[in-house]
Symmetry: C2
Subunit: 132 residues, 2 copies
DNA sequence: CGGTATCCCGGCCGATACTG
DNA sequence: CAGTATCGGCCGGGATACCG
């Protein structure tokens, strides 16, 4: 009971409701859960990383998309960018306190999904063979 | 200490690692966190819903995308589809136990983001005015 | 009601080249 | 190293029409 009630009821009355089309929270949620946003936050949860470290950690991301993703997260106040005017340049990215809180909840989801993949794969086989 | 360790360390050795480009968990995570997947799971967390109820609940989703989204989630074993061969037809969608576990973690993230929007909006203003 | 089929546009995103 | 600029494909996803 305590786990099911109050999670979405009356949400229409709250200032920010992600189920409403025009709510800005939907945009931020998409930055966080988007293709690369979630992986960037997850990688940074362990500690600050430089641009190319992050790029190697998030397998498959292009320079352009990583740059865009980091800018969006920085603008939303989830990531802090620390540039040192040295040569060669060095830029470190790290989570803000708010970013850590978001990343923690995101990682709980990610790890749960990873841990459920056997069940998911089994469900897919059942679904596909039932269709055939 | 206990909250920061063991979250991603050694993940490369686990069977499923979302950070790896080819891992199937990345696909499932995208179904769950995608534009409509997350909202569908969130809406179904309260209880089973019919197709058009769901459509009204998830403001802005088209018939096509809702249909696609539900198929993907059903195939992954997160949503159960119950069709009654009546006239007019009635189809109920509800979360599976696995789907509930996923939705719970997802809603924790969603509600946290909703609750943080004031901070996010403030961060954006700071960012934008610093750029200008 | 609960979908599927088709068309088609915008923009997401990868590839490449270039800069400080 | 840490990006930006530009081009182009492809596909997400909206609109519309149609079906059981």
């Amino acid at each position: 009971m305590t786990t099911t009630e109050g999670l979405t009821e009356g949400l229409e009355d709250l200032p920010f409701n992600v189920f409403a089309k025009a709510c800005p929270s939907r945009g931020t949620l998409e930055h966080v859960t988007g293709r690369w946003g979630g992986l960037a936050l997850g990688a940074l949860y362990e500690g600050s990383l430089r641009f190319n470290e992050l790029r190697r950690r998030v397998d498959g991301v292009s320079e352009k998309m990583l740059s865009q993703t980091l800018h969006a997260l920085e603008r939303d106040g989830l990531v802090h960018r620390e540039a040192q005017p040295t040569n060669p340049p060095r830029v470190d990215y790290e989570l803000t306190p708010l970013g850590r809180d978001v990343a923690e909840r995101l990682l709980a989801l990610i790890h749960f999904v990873e841990g459920s993949m056997e069940q998911v794969l089994a469900a897919r086989e059942r679904y596909d063979s039932a269709k055939a």
